[in-house]
Symmetry: C2
Subunit: 408 residues, 2 copies
């Protein structure tokens, strides 16, 4: 048994998904305490009512704030190579095409992934995950999508799965072979899909439990709506739950497709329209916003307030990747959501906890402060969650617990 | 004697000020080494040419990048209280006036400063400076301006000066009594200036070396051009070098005044016009941009490219303060300058090193890699400076040296 005492503010995030209209407030208990029995929360409430069992270990929160462990529900954390050259070219005003012509863009990462062994991918990802943990992150979704051959996509999934045993963060794997059309299939996207949607491949992903989710980049430069539908429905037959990169740059109906195929989440949404919002609401699809990406590219953000006002449940993630969002810090992304999207700290906290859990189909286990829930927690060194978002660029996380164990 | 070996890339920032047109490139030595004799750089060059003296201590840079220690030339690091409530209200769309009416705004900080002892101000600032040091910052300018009585302004300056002996960062004090008109002088700004520009007060600041610079917030809501001129010219007579908060919200001619009074820097510049640029160029005035502030407020950035194209020497600073820029990380601000202002990593590196040194009249001592310069250095854990800016929200600084001594 473990007790956390002297909690100045316990933010009682309820189990989600929570619609946008209800994300603006959350119960908070001042002068609180919590009991953890093994891996789960067994009691919480006013410290004055705490009955400490014998042989109970104690953590002193020294009057600060306790929140659920953060959940980063959209990342590309397994990658190789570095693209700072392209970052500078973009700042200098070079177009995407120019950058691609001079050897930049996603293909840089694809080549680096193909050249790397699974061991190397694991070694490269470990320090990233270690730093994410220090920021209070206890669950991270990671996508494949830089291999773009069957072998390299499976290598990426294998790396994600091997990382599960090597560090404390819970990892969730997504099969994103349909991230972009590889050079070898230029102009032949359907032929590429034939390869990565092959039944034997998908059966292997299912049988070896290599991924829980499938994903597709539904965009004029990648896969159109019909191709995306094929990706998601085919993968769904093999037990993978659909997600989409939707409405990022061009409005081609990706969020309507999200509703149609019953996607658990549609992610990005910078160009979402009313039809997409309606389809997502109908399908109870989570809206995953990626403020770090638009910030990083210096382009317009998704219309967060419009999406919240439509009562869609909103999650927030880093989109951590070496091209468009080299932002590994979820707390920094919460600040970007505040200053650039006008989401309050309470809204973004729900977006990185229970609604992110919902986007990963884990709302019953993580992301909330509730008896019986997994004791994934971040103990801050500030008195309230607003303060954490108010101070970007500083790590306000003092102690991290995963399944009731101090891990950071 | 101290040697730094195995430097993958030594960024040879020259002594400034460096005009905007020349900020885009800088010499870099690959496979470099450096010798430090006491407090200063005594040699640097190719590692193959290094002649290590006997009894020489060694630091291994393990193939990574070495840059000058960063200089934050515009901050309000000494403050009391916290304003996350107002931060949330602003996100919720409340106007500045509403926030002020409900008890928010700068007056919150003024009241907290007045209620605090000098000891308390010192204790509050120490952890902030400790974290800044960890980000590679070795020199920080700090302003008064939240006391707004003679006693409280002097208390702030005293706090800054006491902090010099308590931690390794070099601190530079600025007298900013003319930050805003205090409540007690509502509608009577000139009467307030009579008090804080009193000859005895300024003589004390001079005689006790309490500040090197004076500053004024030249803005419709604070002090107009005539009042600002009076502040700067009066302080100048007592040996304080003028700086201005200029052209932030309203264009009232503050940068023209900067040129007229020979200010060493004009800071903010979000609404600068051609006349202001011409006046600053004529006066060889440093343009200090504060990208974190506009980012934090979610408003338009200063026209950095226009200012660089006009060949003004540009510095970058955090404007770290509890109201409009609770951003203590200068590396994060370099990323904001990149993504939101289109300044390259090289330009922003010069902006936080030698040009920031110039804005503090220290271009002969710090901010450059040059024999005889103070050995203020940041050893990164990444191979080049672009990588540091490319990865915001992660601390890429491994070791910090101040005057040749490892301090972080």
């Amino acid at each position: 048994m473990l007790a956390i005492r002297n909690i100045g503010q316990l933010v009682v995030v309820p189990a989600g998904p929570i619609g946008g209209k209800s994300m603006g407030s959350v119960d908070r208990i001042e002068r609180a305490a919590m009991l953890i029995d093994g891996e789960t929360i067994s009691w919480f409430g006013l410290e004055s009512k705490l009955e400490t069992p014998a042989d109970c270990e104690t953590i002193d929160a020294v009057g600060n704030c306790v929140i659920p462990g953060l959940i980063d529900c959209h990342t590309h954390t397994v990658f190789a190579g570095s693209r700072e050259r392209e970052f500078v070219q973009r700042i200098e005003g070079r177009s995407y095409e120019e950058i691609a012509r001079s050897g930049g863009g996603i293909r840089v990462t694809v080549e680096a992934i193909r050249a790397a062994s699974c061991d190397e991918l694991v070694e490269l990802a470990l320090p990233r995950l270690r730093r994410m943990l220090k920021n209070g992150v206890t669950t991270v979704e990671v996508k494949s999508g830089y291999g773009l051959t069957v072998a390299d996509e499976l290598k990426m999934l294998e790396a994600i799965n091997r990382l599960k045993a090597l560090q404390p963060i819970e990892l969730v794997a997504t099969y994103l072979a349909a991230h972009t059309v590889p050079r070898e299939f230029d102009g032949r996207p359907d032929d590429y899909l034939d390869v990565v949607l092959d039944e034997k491949v998908l059966a292997q992903v299912r049988d070896e439990e290599l991924a829980e989710f499938c994903d597709v980049f539904c965009e004029t430069t990648a896969f159109d709506v019909e191709q995306s539908r094929r990706v998601l429905l085919t993968c769904k037959k093999f037990g993978l739950t659909p997600k989409l990169h939707a409405d990022q740059i061009t409005q081609i109906g990706a969020t309507v497709l999200a509703g149609e195929v019953g996607a658990i989440s549609a992610d990005h949404l910078e160009t979402i329209n009313d039809a997409g919002i309606a389809a997502m609401r109908e399908a109870e699809c989570i809206a995953v916003l990626l403020p770090g990406c638009s910030y990083y590219l210096g382009i317009a953000q998704a219309p967060a307030r419009k999406i919240l006002d439509a009562d869609l449940p909103v999650a927030i993630a880093t989109d951590y990747n070496p091209g468009s969002s080299m932002v590994e810090s979820l707390p920094l992304v919460m600040n970007i959501a505040a200053t650039q999207m006008k989401m309050t700290p309470c809204e973004s906290l729900i977006g990185v906890t229970t609604n992110a859990a919902s986007a990963l189909n884990r709302q019953g286990c993580i992301g909330a402060i509730k008896v019986g829930m997994q004791a994934d927690l971040a103990i801050l060194d500030v008195p309230n969650v607003e303060r954490m978002v108010y101070e970007p660029g500083r790590n306000c996380v003092r102690t991290v617990l995963k399944k009731g164990r101090v891990v950071g």
